[in-house]
Amino acid sequence: MDKEVAIIGYAQTPYEADAEASREMQVLEVTKAALAAAGLKREQLDTVITANNDYLDGRTISNMRLVEPSGAWQKNESKVEMDGAYAALYALMRILSGDHGIAMVVGESQASVYGGYIPGTMMLDPTFDRQRGLLNEVSASALQARAYMNACGVSEEQLAGVAAKNLANAAKNPLALRADGKADVKKVLSSRLLYSPIRELMASPLCDGACAVVLASGKVAAKSGNPVWIKGVGFSHDSYLSERSLAEMSSLKDAARRCYAMAGIEDPASQLDLAEVHECFAHEELMAYEALGLCAAGEGGAFFDSGTTSMDGSLPVNASGGALAANVACAAGLARIIEAAMQIRGEAGDHQVKGVRTAVAHGQTGICAQENIIYVLGGE
């Protein structure tokens, strides 16, 4: 895609364990802030897409109280029950249809309402796995971690290293919930063991928050200051966890192939300047390196050890701290898009990486990263 759709504004709440405001008021806050950032009035929005989830909200039609706060009153509104990165896809397609010029995209949820990882069991097969009581988001991801580590020779120290890197990066991101400038492998390995090999600091903290992105057609975006162009998008769904290899993220690999073809990326490691990946657990970042083609298959651990993905490396990954710093269900992938756009615009403040022109952003939904979506974003 060449200058067809761009990000022209965005906003995030701080990510908190237990926000004072309701989800509706958090959405109102980011909607207004994103509109202001884009230099737009509510009246100029053509369509609004939100990402939220009925079972996380504890009632049906989780978007019904978001019509006004998301700017959708008497507008063309719809939602996805997936990550906000998919809401951005829906909005992107609406703009590409030619019928809509400007879209508001919102992702939100509040883990303080639904109780952390507990609703994750609703993603399990209802007739069998949910009845057994053995699997939940953490134990299933632990099975994924072990399968990957066994196949690719990755150590617990390497998982801890990813967590330490991201938590240290997060110390420079004022919106992060979990951050530790002094995080190191030892500290991560001495945090509580949840399900082996996953320790508390290797698991993303589920939290409260919202974020919003304004997408605009090329015609509108060209007149705005500093648009961040969507160069490509790719998405792919995999089978339920019992019917696929947990040792690799094959659907992310497939999504990347489609996205890179659209964006004209032939050698991701040299053409990309930065990546924001949605790693719900530390091992998923290593798996994503491989699936995104940043390194060869099976080389995720060694690639991490090379320092390439650290803040001062040639391809920093999760300069924001990633989802290990804050993982709002239905928003964390959209937040990765925002963070990548911030880096391209040079608006990332203390966690700014120098000279980011092209970046990749990843979102996921489903147990053990069943569904994956990536975007390649670029500046002028």
């Binding site: 069998f128 072990r146 399900y195 019992s242």
Partner: protein
């Protein structure tokens, strides 16, 4: 906001016969469960791609309808595993018997192509590895319930 920490426990199970879903899986799983009484394991084979599902599944990713019942073995291979740490997880047991970590294994039974999860007993966390061979531990008198498949032991 203390109310958030209150938990209400309600006694009871989740009897599947009370569900009124039009869900072909239920009929298939009932057949597999019924066979457990005779210590038989029934998988379902897809005519399109040959995949053998255990537990059975009414549709396949190749768009065929798995319809051939095949008896599969009660031995298999561990494809991945985890064990619990010192962590209380609401509503989910975090320990095995007598304070030992609960070892959860992903296994592929011989003659099947899909993973199922099971608790490994008679083993310590340091004994378990990917690739290790296991056998299902049948209860003395299987009752045709999911619980009959709860445990496996190293082979």
């Amino acid at each position: 906001m203390e109310y958030k920490n209150e938990t209400v426990s309600i006694e009871g199970g989740w009897p599947m016969e009370h569900w009124q879903w039009k869900f072909e899986s239920l009929a298939l799983i009932r057949k597999t469960l019924e066979a457990l009484r005779e210590k038989k394991l029934l998988g379902l084979k897809c005519p399109g791609c040959g995949l053998v599902y255990f537990m059975p599944k009414p549709y396949c990713r190749c768009l065929s309808i798995p319809d051939e019942w095949v008896e599969v073995k009660d031995t298999g291979t561990v494809t991945t595993y985890t064990f619990t740490g010192a962590w209380a997880y609401e509503g989910i047991a975090d320990e095995g018997p007598a304070g030992t970590p609960l070892i959860i294994v992903g296994i592929v039974l011989d003659g099947t192509d899909t993973m199922t999860v099971c608790t490994l007993s008679d083993a310590k966390p340091e004994d378990v590895s990917v690739g290790m061979r296991i056998r299902l531990q049948w209860p003395e008198n299987p009752e045709g319930k999911l619980e009959d498949l709860a445990y496996c032991v190293p082979l």
